[in-house]
């Protein structure tokens, strides 16, 4: 019987099996300031060193301000955490892209853009959105701080093999529908717990047609249905993306790498523990109405009644929405475009193309936070900064920012934010903040209209 891509890679990384658990070798480890300080303390308590410092890369992202990054961080606790990361990396010789470095950015943006993330790897980070890297055909998943310590100490983790699920999306996306809508659609159908215990492979013609950046958005939000990770078999799109990046394999190794990467597919007779199928033409621009990413619907739909969705009453009270409501025409006060989900250059280009020559609604604050320094520089090089400025959008410096509101970038209590990030949990963007998740295009259209609109209608109007 054939093997799934997941099982091929998992098997290739097993160091040893005992007591029913696998010791899994980790090829690449990323760390950031929030979930690593206690892990380094653990090493000190045990008097051990970092086992393979060159296989870890550090960057501060969760806590950092997104303006005036050249100045010392004002908030003392954030400053202390970033400082601690710098000290630990210096002490243990772990490579780091510090604030202001040309390669600094959100950990899940900089791995791929520097060619560190490659097919066939195992990748972990103390952050649940590590699933992003699976877009390259790697096994990538988020871990807790104890596991960060284990990875630092031994470059391995003790794991139980998850079950496998394949989600096939065939067909073509309609105009105005993007990869963010695909994943929000899937989560709304399978629910926020629907993938727990599984590792997902995405397949089908709609996935094959996507760019690497769009694929990353899908794998990124896999954790929002409870699955630890999602992956996509590498193809020519993957190879073209990696080629020429700073840590891509060089000339002689490149051909060998490609030959190996081409074997990274699920065999045609491989059996998955579960299979799900979707048709791309059924997907419309998505918005969330509740307080978990599974509470989403097409922009043309109405909020379902409470007996159809678990726990929805509490959510609707928090959001001040009601069953039967449409979100079309709903006023918003904030727009956040950024995060490891949608903070890449293609996202910024899409938004800029749409808003060129338009202006934000007066009552709306728009924050664009690039995912990395390289994304920021690219945007400036292409003149996107000018487009944003003219539209009244504020282009800031890279970081996680208002996705989780650990820095100053927060949404005030009771106000609505349409956000390209990944979580609409209560208080996620600040205490009392109300988050509506959507694609960058839906966010851009709402910024201009001042309310939630169906971006397909705006695009049609534009072409008339």
């Amino acid at each position: 019987m054939g093997k799934t891509l997941f099982d091929k890679l998992w098997d290739a990384h097993i160091v040893h099996t005992e007591y029913g658990v696998d010791i899994l070798y980790i090829d690449q480890h990323f760390i950031h300031e929030v979930t690593s300080p206690q892990a380094f303390d653990g090493l000190r308590d045990r008097n051990i060193e970092v086992f393979r410092p060159q296989k870890t890369l550090a960057t501060p992202d969760h806590n950092v301000p997104t303006i005036n990054q050249h100045l010392p961080i004002k908030e003392p606790l954030s400053r202390a955490q970033v400082q601690k990361l710098y000290e630990n990396c210096a002490l243990y010789q772990v490579p780091i892209y510090k604030l202001g470095h040309e390669k600094h950015g959100i950990v899940h943006i900089i791995g791929p853009e520097n060619g560190i993330t490659k097919p066939g790897m195992t990748i972990v980070c103390g952050d649940s959105h590590t699933s992003t890297h699976g877009a390259f055909g790697s096994i990538a998943f988020g871990i807790g701080t104890s596991q960060v310590e284990q990875t630092l100490a031994t470059q391995c983790l003790v794991m139980t093999r998850p079950k496998t699920m394949r989600i096939t999306i065939d067909g073509h996306l309609s105009k105005g529908v993007y990869s963010k809508d695909i994943i929000l659609h899937i989560i709304s159908k399978l629910t926020a717990a629907g993938g727990t215990g599984y590792f997902i492979e995405y397949a089908g013609s709609a996935i094959e047609e996507l760019s690497m950046e769009a694929r990353m958005t899908i794998c990124n939000m896999t954790i929002e249905m409870g699955a630890r990770g999602g992956m996509i078999a590498p193809d020519q799109t993957t190879f073209d993306y990696i080629s020429g990046r700073s840590q891509a394999p060089n000339d002689e190794l490149w051909d060998q790498a490609i030959a190996y990467w081409k074997t990274l597919v699920s065999d045609s007779d491989a059996i998955f523990d579960r299979e799900e199928f979707f048709d791309a033409k059924d997907i419309s621009p998505m918005v969330t109405y509740g307080t978990n990413p599974g509470m989403g619907m097409g922009i043309g739909d109405r909020i379902p009644p409470s007996h159809e969705v678990s726990n929805v009453e509490k959510s609707l009270k928090y959001m001040d929405f009601h069953a039967g409501d449409s979100l079309k025409g709903k006023k918003i006060q904030h727009v956040f475009i950024g995060s490891c989900t949608n903070g890449r250059i293609e996202d910024l280009r899409l938004v800029a193309d749409y808003v060129r020559g338009k202006k934000r609604a007066n009552h709306v604050q728009v924050m664009i936070v690039p995912g990395s320094k390289q994304v920021e520089q690219q945007a400036i090089q292409e003149g996107l900064d000018k487009v944003f400025e003219a539209a009244g959008f504020q282009l800031r410096e890279p970081g996680c920012s208002a996705c989780l509101g650990m820095n100053e970038d927060k949404v005030p209590k009771g106000e609505y934010c349409i956000s390209t990030s990944n979580r609409n949990f209560e208080g996620r963007q600040g205490p009392g903040a109300r988050t509506i998740l959507a694609s960058p295009m839906m966010a851009a259209a709402a910024a201009i209209a001042g309310e939630i609109v169906d971006v397909r209608q705006q695009l049609l109007a534009q072409h008339k």
């Binding site: 070798y25 807790g144 701080t145 104890s146 409870g226 208080g427």
Partner: protein, 197 residues
């Protein structure tokens, strides 16, 4: 890590589903450099209002309920990988969390901190909530060796699953890192034959 054998205690009920780690410990409290002290901010935004005054309706502010067992609705601990959620639960004094379903990363984090996630059926969970509602002083017994969760007054005992490896770790107080460090020779041997690009 402390050894885990049996817990006999009253329980604190939070019959809410999909409790995510942002509710267990909001991101703004993740700025600490140590593992201690997170219990003070456990369920912060459900427990305190915007002026930091306790919200009387919330169960942690209600003296009627207490104990080292937390009972919560389906899909507990979904969302972020922050181990701070497990630290907050442990620091507050909980040793066991009971639910009908746990998110994967939370479950792993809890076990790595000597907190036992007890997963029971939906109907069994409902019986547990009902028992607490009937009598807040109801005692529950968690037996790791037997893998049972028992409502003491009625004697209703529910079986729960735990992998053999994690069961051994908890009962002996071992960490994963002890196991990994004992395998360093194997890890080095693996590296020498691994081809990566």
């Amino acid at each position: 890590m402390q050894k885990f054998t049996k817990v006999i205690s009253t329980a604190v009920p939070i019959p809410i589903e999909e409790i995510d780690t942002d509710q267990i410990i909001p991101a703004r409290f993740l700025k600490a450099l140590t593992r201690e002290g997170f219990g003070a901010n456990l369920f912060r935004d459900w427990r305190y209002d915007h002026q930091d005054k306790p919200i009387p309706d919330f169960v942690l502010n209600n003296d009627t309920y207490g104990g080292s067992i937390l009972v919560a609705g389906n899909n507990f601990g979904c969302g972020s990988s922050r181990e701070h959620a497990a630290w907050a639960i442990g620091d507050y004094g909980f040793k066991v969390v009971v639910s009908s379903f746990f998110a994967d990363i939370f479950k792993a984090n809890a076990l790595n901190n000597g907190i036992l996630p007890v997963q029971i059926g939906q109907d069994e969970l409902r019986q547990v909530f009902e028992a607490i509602e009937k009598n807040a002083a109801e005692i529950f017994e968690v037996d790791l060796e037997q893998q049972t969760f028992t409502i003491v007054s009625s004697g209703a005992a529910f079986q729960f699953e735990i992998g053999a490896y994690k069961k051994m770790c908890l009962s002996k107080g071992y960490d994963d890192i002890d196991f990994l460090l004992s395998n360093v020779d194997r890890i080095i041997a693996f590296e020498s034959k691994q081809e990566i690009y």
